[in-house]
Symmetry: C2
Subunit: 352 residues, 2 copies
DNA sequence: CTTAGCACTCAAAGGGTTAGAGTGCTAAGA
DNA sequence: TCTTAGCACTCTAACCCTTTGAGTGCTAAG
């Protein structure tokens, strides 16, 4: 049996309607749609066919049909109508994004919140490093007799620092010397390349080095390690409960717990090689917990060697067209925003 | 009518039992408790009295009694048995805390997660600044021909920085000069004290100052403002759904939404003058949304002029004794931990 | 002052019936 | 050959009615 154009049209209508109502769709409802010029009996036959083809399912004999995973897949890949953002929608997304954002982690929180608001579903946003990070440059700034500031300029152009206080006097000259040594030996190294042997050599370089070096190096390796870590935020969990399929508390709880834990942290991996917006329909998931949940996600570019991803989690019956459109637009706007670095540094822009 | 010892005992038993079962408590159940040497009829009379006194409520005629807000209040203030942490519990809290924590915001997330785990309820944790922050010292580090690093040492001993790139050449001598001027004029000032007049004076100090100063000052004031902001994290929202009173989706959703938004950010204000662990029973709340919810919270000391607060949100029927005990212990352990600053800087402590 | 006993109340659970939405199939019509 | 009106059939959800039993307040006796 082949998928005729009419079958596709019927399937699309069913998915559309089901997305709106969350109720099984009957033949009559479809037959009554404006541009459906067939009787309910004809639709009924088509629906029977679509069911044997595996695109529809029947909760029970006397209920309407609901799309199967395969049905959603086909819908997402082929049938779904382009959702064009209204000017209002685009505008509200834009103004939301334009609020300045500061550090990456704070930013991911903010982005997740915005995405969740825009889609009315729980959202996740992840920032992850593309390659290994190294230190480009060390600076030691004296900040009092027993304290100094360690400043690291990373290969990502991120700057990290730490105020270090020690119970001993530190000479400015020592710091200068030590700084030079650090820059000579440790720049460009991955954390695992910083060996004990290397350290000993540095230790002998300056008077107070023996005490300072371990502290400095510990902080450095820790920073490098953490910098490779992905940074993830979840927002709007509560919105899940609006969806009729999560009115069942146990289901909702399971889902929320999954969101709470990092069960989703492997999602970015799925995006690794993909481009554009990707839809994962229920049973296609790796994680068992997400069986009747779909995820829509997109990559965007943060710059500084950071890879961003935003995603939305919802029932398999979610408004794919709308969600996909908003998400893509969001990702695009974010990428654009990060492409203009001054926008970040100069918070307001038009001050006196 | 007076609150006799026996009445108190009955009330305590009722609250205890209700906390365990979440079901209205009947006279028979109380009468059958091990150390209750009265018949159900007697208990019944006592319960009737407690009801007219306002400590108990009756959902309907033929149901048992549940504690009223006043009942919980009395329970928390007077009747509740001390909950002693078992060695296991204390141990697991300790090891959880000992994992090193890095920046304040990340830390608050972690703490919230830990508290939520320890109490099996949603938790919030807030860090807020006690006084206004100022800049103690500016440093400008050249980092390439068109870029430099701005390092601020704040009055809180926190260090903040930013890599600034500009489309123009910057001379090292200019930076030095500008740094000196900044240190001379802007240190110790609150953001609102940095006026346009002051800026103009600085602008004339060095060649490229006109371009650099706005960027630097914008970042500085922004940082100072943000530093005064409270930093809050919520964790374990999903656990709320375990509680029978939140099996009602609408209620759960309202509550989760409240947690999602910052409706709780005014809670720390309540703690301002209080000390130790504080319990807010349902209707005593300022926020309308929290009417049938209790909050248990405690302050702890982060150091660096930061004030921490951890809190737990749950049904009015929550195990106050247990929650209070765990929270207090948590706060104490955290305060202790922050009192030893080296523990933070030296991640492991016993390396080589 | 305590308690056994009893009549009374009322929510919750069980059971049976009904309504109606939706189906598949058949046979007539285009 | 495709479409559609018509009809018998299915099955859930809603409704109503009844029963059950936990819990109460009151009374009167110990």
């Amino acid at each position: 049996m082949e998928l005729t154009e009419r079958k596709k049209k019927v399937l699309r209508s069913i998915v559309d309607l089901y997305i709106r109502t969350a109720e099984p769709v009957g033949s009559k409802a479809i037959a009554e749609l404006p541009d459906m010029n067939y009787s309910s009996a004809t639709i009924r036959n088509e629906m029977a066919d679509l069911t044997t083809l595996g695109y529809l399912e029947q909760p029970h004999t006397s209920a309407g049909r609901i799309p199967s995973a395969a049905g959603y897949r086909l819908y997402v890949d082929e049938l779904m109508a382009d959702y064009r953002l209204s000017i209002d929608e685009a505008h509200s997304i834009n103004t939301a994004i334009e609020e300045k954002m500061q550090r990456v982690d704070k930013m991911m929180e903010k982005v997740a919140k915005l995405v969740s608001q825009a889609t009315d579903l729980p959202a996740i946003s992840v920032a992850s490093r593309r390659g290994g990070t190294t230190v480009k440059r060390f600076d030691l700034i004296l900040a009092g007799s027993g304290s100094f500031i360690l400043v690291l300029l990373l290969s990502t152009d991120e700057v990290v620092n730490k105020l270090i206080k020690l119970p001993l006097h530190i000479a400015e000259s020592d710091l200068k010397l030590l700084g030079a040594v650090l820059n000579a030996t440790l720049t460009g190294l991955a954390p695992e390349e910083i060996t004990g042997e290397l350290l000993e050599r540095i230790m002998n370089s300056a008077e107070s080095a023996a005490t300072l070096v371990p502290v400095i190096v510990d902080f450095t390796t820790e920073t490098l390690r953490r910098s490779g870590t992905t940074n993830m935020a979840v927002a709007g969990q509560a919105r899940l409960l609006q969806q009729p399929e999560y009115r069942n508390i146990d289901k909702a709880q399971k889902m929320l717990t999954t969101l709470d834990e990092d069960a989703l942290s492997n999602l970015p991996a799925v995006m690794q090689n993909a481009n554009g917006t990707k839809v994962l329909v229920g049973p296609e998931h790796v994680a068992q917990e997400l069986k009747d949940t779909s995820v829509v996600m997109t990559k965007f570019d943060i710059g500084d060697g950071l890879q961003g991803m935003i995603g939305v989690v919802g029932p398999t019956r979610m408004d794919y067209a709308k969600v996909t459109a908003r998400l893509s637009y969001f990702a695009e706007s974010l990428s654009k925003m990060f492409a203009k670095p001054e926008q970040q540094s100069l918070p307001e822009g038009k001050e006196e």
